[in-house]
C-alpha cells in the first residue's frame, strides 16, 4: 500500500505539473509577444494573463495537495 500511494502521488503531481507547465508556457509566451507588439495594450493583456494563469495553476495546486493526502494515508 505504501509503494502504491507513493506512485499515485508521483503520477498525480507529475501530470498536474506537466499540464500546468504547458499551459503557463503558452499563456506567458503569447502575452509577452502581445505586449512586445502593442505595449499600449499592456493593462488588458496583463489582466487576461492573470486570469489565465490563475485558472491554469488551480490544477497543480489541487494535485499537490492530493499528492500529500495520498502520502499521508500511506
Amino acid at each position: 500500500m505504501g509503494a502504491l500511494a507513493l506512485v499515485a502521488a508521483a503520477i498525480v503531481f507529475g501530470l498536474g505539473a506537466l499540464g500546468a507547465g504547458i499551459g503557463n508556457g503558452l499563456i506567458v509566451g503569447r502575452t509577452v509577444e502581445g505586449i512586445s507588439r502593442q505595449p499600449e495594450l499592456r493593462g488588458t493583456l496583463q489582466t487576461t494573463m492573470f486570469i489565465g494563469v490563475a485558472l491554469v495553476e488551480a490544477l497543480p495546486v489541487i494535485s499537490l495537495v492530493l499528492a500529500f493526502i495520498f502520502l499521508g494515508k500511506a
Binding site: N24, V28, S36, Q46, F50, I51, A54, V61
Partner: protein
C-alpha cells in the same frame, strides 16, 4: 489605475466577503467550526497567492514592455508552498478540516474566473453594431 489593479481589488472584496460569511458561520454554527476554520485559512492563503501572482504578472509585463531579455518565472513554487503551509497549519495546529482548507484555496481563483467571464462579455454586449461600423 490599470486593469489588473482594479481586477485584483474586486477579487479582494469578494474574498473578504467570503471570509466574513465564514466567520459568521463559525460564530453561529459551532459544530461546523473545523469546516469554517479551514475555509477561512484556505481563502486567506488563496488571497495571498492572488496578490503574489499579480505582482509577478505585473513584473513580467513591465520587463516585456521595456524589452528586457531576461529569464523570469511566475513563482509557482512559492504559491504552492503557501497552499501547503495553509494545509499544514490547518491540520497540525488547529485541527481544521482538510477538505475545507482545500476548498478555500480556490476562492480567489473562482472569483477571478467569474470576473474574467464578466469582463470579457461586458464590452461586447454594450457595444452596438453602429459603433463597430457594421451599419455604416
Amino acid at each position: 489605475m490599470d486593469d489588473l489593479s482594479g481586477h485584483l481589488r474586486t477579487v479582494k472584496r469578494i474574498t473578504f466577503f467570503f471570509l466574513s460569511v465564514c466567520f459568521i458561520g463559525w460564530a453561529l454554527l459551532p459544530e461546523y467550526k473545523p469546516l469554517f476554520g479551514g475555509l477561512v485559512l484556505g481563502a486567506a492563503a488563496s488571497l495571498a497567492n492572488a496578490f503574489h501572482l499579480s505582482w509577478k504578472v505585473h513584473r513580467v509585463g513591465a520587463l516585456s514592455a521595456a524589452g528586457v531579455v531576461k529569464r523570469h518565472n511566475l513563482g509557482f513554487l512559492t504559491r504552492a508552498c503557501i497552499g501547503l503551509l495553509a494545509v499544514v497549519i490547518a491540520t497540525k495546529y488547529f485541527s481544521f478540516s482538510l477538505y475545507g482548507t482545500v476548498a478555500g484555496l480556490f476562492v480567489a481563483q473562482l472569483a477571478t474566473l467569474i470576473l474574467g467571464f464578466k469582463a470579457k462579455r461586458g464590452p461586447a454586449v454594450r457595444q452596438s453594431t453602429d459603433e463597430r461600423g457594421e451599419n455604416n
